[in-house]
Symmetry: D2
Subunit: 161 residues, 4 copies
């Protein structure tokens, strides 16, 4: 039977310390709960931090790469899915993760959140950006969950998976 | 030389009267300015209203369809691009439009806006949703433009194309 | 109502003189018959020759670009659909063309032919490669049509569109 | 470090007994060699036989699904990548597999082979269709390898990965 997959999304090069710490912790907690951790595979920002957190806790990881070359992926991705689709791969991230946790919100992450909501999938949001959480909560009261910490986010995830 | 393309995005089945009127007017004004009008091709909501506005003003239209069958498209699309990609086609909408005007914001439209911003493309927003415009303006002061009417939106578009 | 679209597929940089002449003639004849000509948009080989043939006969053209930048397209494409999907855009070519004519067969073209057949769409083949025509005819006697000249190919196309 | 992935491609509903046995054996041998087995995820034909072979030998499996719903996947896929891209997902299969083994050739499989060759990736072919092997070998002497049995195919794979 297919394993449960938790997506961790967030900024790449522009990730803040808060985003990175969030992603690392979520990755660790997800691995400890037996979830496979999925990110966008690039060796940068939230993508790499989430994968690293999962690997350091002994978990399993999968990365969905936008480019055409497997060697572009983070070394913390056990399985690299090479799409060559540039940011159209964000749709695959949204569909493949059973639930997505967003650590921070910029344009790429926002597209993943929006595509997840479009497909009726749940998103847990950890952000200091109040406008983001209020706006997204307004888009879907039912599917958008705002968490205050990685532990809080994982408690929400457990109720959803 | 390739023609200039204006994307009109917005809700499908959930479009409000305000969204539909906005899309129709933008379609009409775009055609009068010689732009090709692009939408998501479905015979519904803002997609169809934008195409219809352009056709009734004698313009040219193109629809980028998520499904696999050309017959799913609005009759107001002169050219139907059949993608079979479901909502991954939103990325093509974002990349193909020289500028995108969003008449209203729900999940699908939000993904198109976010993907356009990710690719450094300008978006003009007409919405009564204050949270949406404030949040998106906060994401990119430079690329997000808030308009108060179709005429205002087209004036902004002219400065961008 | 949506216009009829004829796809012209074939090698890019490796196109032979025979392939290029074939594509140019098909483009010209398609335009004269009122079909919109679709190719893969790159300024090279069969893609450009087909678009040029159509434009020089006063026809309308559309190019489906694999890269992310509209400026990569052939100047003979009136409408440029920017996909950013690399060779996954071949699926869009296959689905969007009402019928596809292949002038020559290499790996990229073969993928377009195969995807068209997968979706139950007709393909007309002009090639000096006997193995190709025999093998593809063997894959689908019904959907694969082998033509001996551009005029012959267009006669077949007329029976299909 | 990312694991090595062997793709097993071939017909779905139309698979022959020979195709199914081939896929099952390749799956088993791949698992025994420590490769992750990748297929198109559907619970049918070569896709399911390859996954089942790998699982029954204690291996790890990944399926790349064309549809939008994880529940459409074969129960022998450990990890299900949900693309929603219909047959555009064939490009992801081609790019993600380090090497692809084709057990039989029909339209969908042919598109995967062609896309792999387009991206300069090696393909090992097991088929009773002589026209297929001669034609494909003619397309790329260097990248296309014809095997006479699953054991023979795996010996070739070992020299390539």
């Amino acid at each position: 039977m297919a394993k449960s997959i938790l997506g961790i999304m967030g900024p790449g090069e522009k990730a803040t310390e808060h985003n990175l710490k969030c992603a690392y912790e979520i990755g660790k907690l997800a691995a400890q709960s037996g979830y496979v951790v999925l990110t966008g595979a690039r060796p940068s920002g939230v993508m790499e931090a989430g994968l690293r957190g999962a690997k350091e806790a002994g978990g399993q990881t999968i990365g969905i790469l936008p480019s055409k070359s497997k060697s572009d992926a983070s070394p913390f991705a056990d399985l690299v899915v090479v799409t060559g689709l540039n940011s159209a791969r964000n749709y695959i991230n949204a569909l493949t993760a059973d639930v997505t946790v967003a650590c921070g919100v910029e344009a790429g992450t926002l597209s993943e959140i929006a595509l997840a909501l479009k497909e009726q999938k749940h998103v847990v949001l950890i952000t200091e950006n109040k406008r983001a959480s209020e706006f997204l909560k307004g888009l879907s009261e039912r599917l958008v969950h705002v968490a205050t910490s990685p532990e809080d986010a994982m408690a929400i995830v457990h109720t959803l998976i």
